[in-house]
């Protein structure tokens, strides 16, 4: 009913399937790592901005509220 067995073709199929899976996994891992790194960087820049901003009750803000320049 069916054709002759072709185990070479099956071996090729398994190799290609494994290769494609490995490439997909590598791309996925690269993408996830890049995303996490970008996230970390944006978190760090957010915190550094917060640290540099004068607080509402800080000496600079008090001076500016009295009409003095910050200089």
């Amino acid at each position: 009913m069916c054709g002759p067995a072709d185990y070479d073709a099956l071996r090729t199929c398994a190799t290609r399937l494994l290769g494609l899976s490995a490439i997909t996994l590598a791309v996925y891992a690269f993408r996830q790592t890049a995303w996490h790194l970008a996230e970390l960087r944006s978190e760090r820049s957010k915190w550094s901005l917060v640290r540099l901003k004068p607080g509402p009750a800080g000496p600079l803000a008090r001076l500016e509220s009295r009409g003095h320049s910050a200089r």
């Binding site: 009913m1 069916c2 054709g3 002759p4 067995a5 072709d6 185990y7 070479d8 073709a9 099956l10 090729t12 199929c13 290609r16 399937l17 494609l20």
Partner: protein
Amino acid sequence: MAALAGAVGGLLFLFVFPQGAISTFAHYVLHLPAPGAGIALIVGPLAVVFMLVASRVARRAGGAFVGALAFSVACAGVMAVLRQPTGEKGMIGSPWFVLALGTSGAVAEIALLLTRTLRTLAWRSVLAAGGANVALLIFCWVVIFPRTMGWVPWRVVPILLAVSLGAGALAGLAGWALAIRLPDFEEPDPRR
């Protein structure tokens, strides 16, 4: 986009499954009866996954049908360019294959439309994929194999229908899992 998704699926299918691999796996490794085990277990489910992906990226009715046609036309086109024979079963790469996958895609499309009231996309995908895979197998049994291999024996029908339904449902889940991870092509997410 749907045609692109289908064509990519067809090219991947041709690359991963060289001629003879599907029959050997289905009949000599799994000892499933012929004819149609390879269609039910590998060709149909793989096509169905790409139909669902095509439906998702198209975001409108007709995506699954276009994806199925693009899948089969890509296979037939590459085989015609490389002058590959369609095999003794006269299936993959032949005009009948385009017609068979077109029918399967139409069944998937109708199932997706009829199950629109279902809330979860996962169930809709499973139902559409099961229906499309069974439709593909029945089309091959009734239209293609009588010309090349003869009619399917009755004792084989229930086994292969069950295999087709099960593999189609699993492919539906796989297609859904793949489709929901895809970026939205119609309305791009501003966070991406």
